[in-house]
Structures are given as C-alpha cells and as structure tokens.
Symmetry: C2
Subunit: 206 residues, 2 copies
Amino acid sequence: MARRKEHTHDEIRAMATAAVLQHLAVESLDSLSLRKVAQVVGYVPSTLVNLFGSYQGLLLAVAELTLDQLYQCLVSNAQVSQAYDSNPLEAMANAYQQFAFEQPRAFQLIFELKATDEQGLSEHHARLIAQLFALIESCLGELLPELSGEQRLLASRALWGGVHGLVCLALDDKLFAPGISIEEAIRHHIAVQLKGLGYHKEALCC
Amino acid sequence: MARRKEHTHDEIRAMATAAVLQHLAVESLDSLSLRKVAQVVGYVPSTLVNLFGSYQGLLLAVAELTLDQLYQCLVSNAQVSQAYDSNPLEAMANAYQQFAFEQPRAFQLIFELKATDEQGLSEHHARLIAQLFALIESCLGELLPELSGEQRLLASRALWGGVHGLVCLALDDKLFAPGISIEEAIRHHIAVQLKGLGYHKEALCC
DNA sequence: GCAAAATAAAAAACAATGTTCATAATAAGA
DNA sequence: TCTTATTATGAACATTGTTTTTTATTTTGC
C-alpha cells in the first residue's frame, strides 16, 4: 500500500469532518465546498471522494458524528438529572435545545440531509435516531409505568416531536412568540404533555 | 419598453414558479437548476435573475406561494370543521399533515430555506407564518377561553410546534414508530395537549 | 535485492452550476 | 423618423462535484 503523506485514512477522515464542523461553527453550509475542505486538510478533492464516496458522503459522516455527540449529551444529562432527582425529560429537552443553539448549523445538518441519495441514510444514522427515541421511551416508562407499550410509543413521539419542532422553528426565528424564550416553550410543552398523560407529581410552570 | 416575447413580467414569474412546483411534485430540489427552469419556461437564466434577483429569490417566491396555499388550506379546513362542530385544531393539524405529505418537497422548501441570505426572509413570508400561529391562537381561544394571553401564546406554540415536528420527522421517515400512522400521532398529541391544558369536552383517543 | 504489480494520492479534464456583463433588439418619445 | 431608454439575450466567468488519467510510492513475488 502506498502512502505519500503522514496520515492514515481514518486520520484524514477525522481531519475532514473536523474541518467541516469547524466551518459550520462559524459559517453556513453552502459557503463550504469539497475543494475548500480538501485545501484545509491539505489534501485534494479526489482523495476525499475516495474516502467518503462523495461530498454528500462527507457531510453525512459529519451528521452522524454530530448525532452521536447529541445522543451522548442527552444520555449524560438524563443521568445527571436522575442524580438530582429532577425531571429527566425536561433535562434532556433542555440539553437538546442547548445543543441545537450552540451549534445550529451542525444540528440542522442532521435533519436536513435528505435521504434521497441512492444509498439513503446509513444504518448507523437511523439507529442513532431510534436510540434517541428509545431513551425518551425509557424515561417515560419510569415516570408513567402504567402506560401501555403503544401508549408509551405514542407519547414519546408526541413529546419529542414537539421538542424537535419547537427547537427547529426557534432556530430559524419562525416561532414568532415575542417575549417567550425557547426554554419556556419547552418547559410548557413538557409540563402540559405530562399532565395530559396523567402525571401529577410535578407542578406545572403555568 | 421592449418586449421580445408575448409575456409580461408577472406572467413569466408565474410560469417560473409553476415550473419549479411542477418539478418538486416529482423530483428533488437539487436535481433542479436555474438553467433548467429557464429552459422549461422558454427564457434564459439571466432573465429569471432579472425578475427574481437570484435563483434563491425564485425559490423563495415558490416557498411563499406554497406557504400561501398552506395557510388558505388551513383556514378553509378550520371553517369546515366548525360547520361540522368537530375540533378545528385537529382538522387543521390533519390538513397540515396532508398538505405536507401531498407535496413534501414543496412543503420542506418553506422551512428549509435559510434566512442566511443577505436579504433574509421576506416580510410576506414572516407575516404568513405569524398569521398561521394567530389562527391557532384564535382556535385555542375559542376552545379554552379561560386561558390568559400568555398561556394561549405558549399553548399555541407548543401545540403547533408539536404538529410541525411530528410532520417533519415523519416526512423523512425519522419517526421510527412502527405501526403508528402520522394521523394517530397527531391526534394523540392534540388530545394530550388539550387535556393537559384542561380541556375535557373531547374524548381522548387513547 | 529486484523487478513487477498494486495502490494511493495528485493532477488534469469535464460537465454543470449561478451570476455578471456587454450586446443586440425592441418599444417609446420627440 | 430618429433618438433614447429598456429589455431579453448570449457569451463569458468563476466555482462547483465528479471522473479519469498520471504519477509516485509501497507491497508482493521471485
């Protein structure tokens, strides 16, 4: 095997995804290009195509990486909240929101990357989202053990669909709720949702 | 004034937006291009740039047009549901979902079009979204007249944020709720949300 | 060890994109 | 009718992702 430079394939992959993330931390996605990434990491476009299949493949790798971080963030926040005996769902929702607002462009990349590619979403990508929902379901099961399986499934989707929708709209300034922060909106959503499900332990915020 | 062809500017604009919509009805957005649109309508790229400012401007015009349709669709569905004395919120949510699934690519265009352009979202675009929320607020006010202004604001955002989030996730097959339709999920969400808000008139679906 | 094959990275070529600019064609005004 | 302003156009431009070809390096076979 030939190697002209001092990096392994995995190293180049890591450098490339890091470069994309670093760009997204500051600028929009469509001001980025495969060629720019290549220049930053000191390689050439075709090399990255060899490693990721395509530019889209590189972006998908970044999306998976970010999704991974997000999932880990939620898990640890849920654990911390358990230690403090507070509502883990609210803790996770807040972590979700915070993550999204701290790196909005990377966050949006996760969900705006269309599955229209002939290869579709990767197995890993899909599994991560599914795991995220499983996490919600599990929390919900602890809070409301009397729910049936299907009820818990429905409730978890409604709960997180709401959090996700609120975050997405707020990220693009499309919530149009003057004087109301995203934190408030999420807290309200969760409180109302839990109350609607029959959970009475926590006081409502309104 | 000069005119080499038989169309006014408004006619060309209408033709161009129609061409985009027709494409989105079948294929993805990134298989479209300004040049293809120009060819379809029988004009030349620079002409469309003159009329829309840029390709992005054309897409934004399409997004506004679609948003307009969506709003009208919701309004009429709310009215019909009032005539039948059923829940207008559920009727609108269903119309929202149906609209999104009937023309997914056009629907996504509304929300995925970043405001990162130097010009940002148009006044009209923003007003339409705000009107949509006002519609929800108004319905909510009729169902739950005892809510305060801020409570109604919060409730409307949580309610519609949830509908929007569920629809967005479902559109991309990222809901991962086997055996559960988007209609069920939305019905559940609205029922739980209304119950959580203290509305008892309607029976819950679960 | 050395030649030959394999392979990785780079370079170059390609087709397609959005946008810009100069030009030619048309309508309006005198 | 001639001038002037305007409008659509066509060519030019820079940039894009991808494909193909070339070059350089490492591994393999003897």
